[in-house]
């Protein structure tokens, strides 16, 4: 039997389209797997020549699923160019905006995308294994899912005029104050929101308990981990220093200033994907592969500042002897712990006396030559770096986007799952769904839209070396 390549195409977007290819050996077992990002737009080049103040409006268009992250990273880079410290109310409102995005994004990913696998089953009928099927199977739960996402989106709209591509964070501050009336309304929603998040944790834990062998063996591998922390190494999402730990838990970078990211992170380029492969520089490529996003953050930090989330975090840490959780399926658990944290933190922010202040702007006529802005996006650490001339025109842009951090890890995960499940050249729809699930753990932006709406559509072709199609499988 000749070796074959399996192509999975399309996996729908990273703001576009992706595909997976799996190489089989003569015996029909997977020997390698690649995840290709097939869209390229060129923001780093075409933003040159713009005035830097435009960047917080331009860069959210990189991603319609997490535009808030891009606007905040961009505004922080612009703050650094202005060289000004923000007012306390502006910082609070930016953090509120950020938490609202995490609530909508994490809730959406769990309920709309991931939960059909857990509630309906990985091997259930693919025609109904999606959010529409979930509406039919559990309309009450589906209604809570719509409500929780809508709550996050509504806060974003109040602060920036629109739910997607809002105009909220600008260089030196925020555009819009929060009214006392809106604050009171949102505060009243936080009780049921927290209950919804805890319900999601319960659903996930029940699934894990009933399927422990599968969950623990699913794309489980060692890697380094990257996340933002506060000064006490607690989880931080909007503004803090970076922490990197290796696969044994040894701290490689402690309280690292994110504006110096070029000293520790570089991006490898493979000629078969438009998505680059960031790695931790001193360990080289591919030895320096790390994971970011919820799993990376919870493995990198030592605690969470809010009580309910921290109690759950302590249980998470007990999943492994050294406190590092390696199984990709546990991304879902980490994500839900963050969801709880974001709801608790939103309550704290709304209760702060400064949250309705109108003291939201500082500015300057003098520009520093460059500025770096870093935030944690729902899917990982996001870096914006701009260089400007004396008139404020952009002369250079460097971006490392959240999903990119996990590019190498997603490739590894696809390979691990393919190796585990594809034996003797046999590929079934259920295996297909598990390959999807390996990517889905990371909640990458390529599945953002899909995760909003249900099942990631895949098409697998088994091809002989001459290119002829041996087997066609549609999920």
């Amino acid at each position: 039997m000749a070796s074959k390549t399996i192509e999975i195409n399309p996996i729908t977007r990273v703001e576009g389209h992706g595909k997976v290819t799996i190489q089989l050996d003569d015996a029909g077992n997977a020997v390698s797997a690649r995840f290709h990002d097939t869209q390229f737009r060129g923001f780093e080049k075409f933003c040159e020549g713009q005035v830097f103040q435009e960047m917080p409006n331009l860069t959210p268009r990189i991603c319609g699923i997490c535009p808030v992250s891009h606007q905040l990273a961009s505004a922080k880079a612009c703050d650094a160019i202005l060289g000004k410290e923000l007012t306390r109310p502006a910082k609070l409102l930016r953090e509120l905006l950020h938490k609202a995005q995490f609530i909508q994004s994490h809730a959406l990913h769990f309920f709309h995308l991931a939960s059909p696998d857990f509630l309906l089953g990985f091997d259930s009928d693919p025609a109904t294994r999606n959010v529409i099927g979930l509406i039919g199977a559990d309309p009450a739960l589906a209604t809570e899912a719509v409500k929780l996402r809508s709550l996050g989106q509504t806060i974003i709209k109040k602060l920036g005029g629109k739910k997607v591509h809002m105009n909220a964070a600008i260089p030196g501050g925020m555009t819009t104050a929060l009214s006392a009336e809106d604050r009171d309304y949102f505060l009243k929603q936080m009780g049921w929101a927290l209950a919804d998040a805890q319900l999601a944790v319960k659903i996930l834990k029940e699934y894990v308990a009933a399927n422990a062998d599968m969950v623990n063996s699913f794309a489980t591998f060692p890697s380094a981990y990257l996340g933002m922390v506060d000064k006490d190494n607690n989880l931080e999402l909007y503004d803090g220093n970076l922490r990197v730990v290796d696969s044994k838990g040894v701290v490689l970078e402690d309280q690292f200033d994110p504006s110096k990211y070029l000293d520790i992170i570089a991006e490898y380029v493979e000629d078969w994907s438009y998505m680059k492969f960031p790695f931790y520089k001193s360990l080289g490529y591919p030895g320096g592969i790390y994971r970011a996003g919820p799993l990376g953050r919870l493995n990198a930090c030592t605690g969470i500042k809010t009580p309910v989330a921290n109690a759950e975090f302590k249980l998470y840490k007990k999943l492994s002897p050294n406190g590092l959780v390696e199984g990709s399926m546990y991304f879902h658990y980490a994500r839900l712990i963050e969801l709880i944290y974001c709801i608790e933190r939103t309550t704290e922010l709304l209760e702060d006396k400064d949250i309705t202040s109108t003291d939201l702007q500082v500015t300057s006529n003098k520009y520093n030559e460059q500025g770096v802005g870093v935030v944690e996006a729902p899917r990982g650490t996001l870096f914006h770096h701009y260089w400007v001339d004396e008139t404020g025109k952009i002369t250079g842009v460097n971006l490392i986007v959240a999903t990119g951090n996990n590019n190498a890890a997603m490739n590894r995960s696809v390979y691990e799952v393919a190796k585990q499940y594809i034996k003797g050249g046999k590929v079934t729809e259920g295996i297909l769904n598990r390959v999807e699930a390996a990517i889905r753990c990371y909640d990458p932006c390529l599945s953002c839209s899909t995760h909003a709406l249900g099942q990631m559509p895949l098409h697998i072709q088994l091809r002989a070396p001459d290119g002829s199609i041996v087997q066609d499988i549609y999920s």
Binding site: K45, G64, K162, W272, S273, F279
Partner: protein, 178 residues
């Protein structure tokens, strides 16, 4: 009454128009009673079959996207361009003032975080077109719902009009380009 068949695709874009479509919240449940989604992110249907309405988000900037929109046009009676990228080229068309090699070189060779940079090539990735095009420069488009993204209300209006057998013209109170 038979459900109206609808197919949706996203091409070169940020997925924000599909997100704004989701922001119609509970309307999507009502809609699912009137509409059958065929090839779309909300289904597992891979290939195109004949539908009444095709909806395209995004501009056309590479060979694969060109093939997809041509195939969608072939299979739909009415094609709606959703959002600024599909209607006008949008933010994606900002690369049209530059040649594609310059844009690729910046991202994959010159960017300061790159290590051993090189430009990705087919067949691993689809080749870029020389320019980024709005939908109507590649295929015939029947109606437009612009915006970056369109307001959820505008998307709801567009679909409601189509289901009533009319070509939608978005009224000023729900129309915005930003």
């Amino acid at each position: 009454m038979a459900k109206v068949k609808v197919a949706t695709v996203w091409l070169e874009s940020c997925a924000g128009c599909h997100m704004s479509f989701l922001d119609v919240d509970e309307f999507i449940i009502d809609l699912s009673k009137l509409v059958e989604f065929r090839r779309s992110p909300i289904t597992d249907i891979k290939g195109f079959d004949d539908v009444t309405v095709g909806i395209v988000e995004g501009s056309v900037g590479n060979e694969e996207e060109k093939e997809v929109i041509e195939e969608l046009r072939h299979h739909c009676k009415i094609l709606m361009a959703l959002g600024d990228c599909a209607c006008f080229g949008g933010v994606c068309a900002m690369r049209n003032t530059l040649d594609k090699e310059t844009v690729l070189k910046r991202a994959y060779i010159d960017a300061p975080s790159n290590y051993k940079g090189k430009i990705p090539v087919a067949p691993g990735v689809p080749e870029l077109l020389d320019k980024v095009y709005p939908a109507n420069q590649i295929v015939k488009v029947d109606c437009y719902v612009p915006g970056c993204p369109p307001e959820p209300e505008a998307i709801k209006f567009g679909l409601t009009e189509l289901l009533a057998g009319r070509i939608p013209v978005v009224p000023s109170n729900i129309m915005r380009f930003d």
